[in-house]
Amino acid sequence: MESHRVLKESQIMKIHYITGIAAIFVVAIHILMRLIVPFELSLEYDYIIANYKNIIYVLILESILVLISLHGFNGMRIILLELRQTKRWENMVTVVTISAMIALIAFGTRTIILANGL
């Protein structure tokens, strides 16, 4: 069964660490974008729409979405696999977490694309 795995757990852990470290940097930029202007102003509709029209910031938002979804749902998978160790449970947890991750990335990307066109 092991030979059928796409990635080894050690490779998945490396991805987990890389996405975690990368997320710290992009989230820091995202928070700085809220702090370079007064906090209340940073949440105003026109300011947010202007953010979504800045292509560099859009790329940062998309990378936050992908990195945190990968890191977060893989973390959830690890926690759930610590609770029970059967092949059926492992397969179910893997399918559910990957599906949820894809759904969240798709939903967030839809917001970014639509807000960019407003």
């Binding site: 949440l43 509709y45 947010i48 979804s69 977060g72 959830m76 926690i79 609770l83 160790q85 917001t111």
Partner: protein, 165 residues
């Protein structure tokens, strides 16, 4: 084939009979109860516990945040009416918890990456009385304290931004 026996192929392609390993009993697992019980453990276990709790909390927040920001595509009124729900005292207190959780999760996560790479574990030594493991040394403990102090400082900064005038 006899019940309870399975064939296993050796690297030399020779088939051998092996006794089937029974499914391990789950009686020794405490599940969530054991996971959430910090009373029998030291700082390392509490840090393990916090890392998972903050991780799950931040994932829930992230899903909520992606949903919250999606309201902007429905126009200014939809955005402002949803924002009113979050721009309250409780909403700000929740954000301060998010700031604290994300800072702890990041700082402690960096410590865990170093630990996984073997950095800061110390050299193995004979387990003499009082049997303190060399891997749980002052470097690990200071890493946990640094994560907690950074988290408190970030929460204080967030409090000043959200509640300060």
């Amino acid at each position: 084939m006899a019940s309870g026996n399975i064939n296993k192929v050796c690297p030399s392609r020779e088939k051998i009979l092996m006794k089937e390993i029974e499914q391990p009993s789950r009686n020794n697992l405490e599940g969530l109860k054991g996971w959430l019980n910090p009373t029998r453990y030291g700082w390392e276990r509490i840090s393990y516990w916090f890392q998972r709790l903050t991780g799950v909390f931040l994932l829930i927040y992230f899903i909520g945040h992606v949903y919250e920001t999606s309201t902007i595509v429905n126009g200014q009124n939809a955005w402002e009416s949803f924002l009113e729900l979050t721009q309250t005292v409780w909403g700000h207190l929740f954000l301060i918890m998010v700031i604290g959780a994300s800072t702890f999760h990041s700082a402690n996560g960096i410590r865990l990456i170093f630990t996984h790479a073997g950095i800061g574990l110390g050299t193995p030594s004979r387990p003499d009385y009082p049997y303190s493991p060399s891997s749980l040394n002052y470097r690990q403990k200071s890493g946990i304290w640094i994560a907690l102090i950074l988290s408190a400082a970030a929460m204080f900064y967030g409090f000043n931004i959200l509640f300060g005038e």
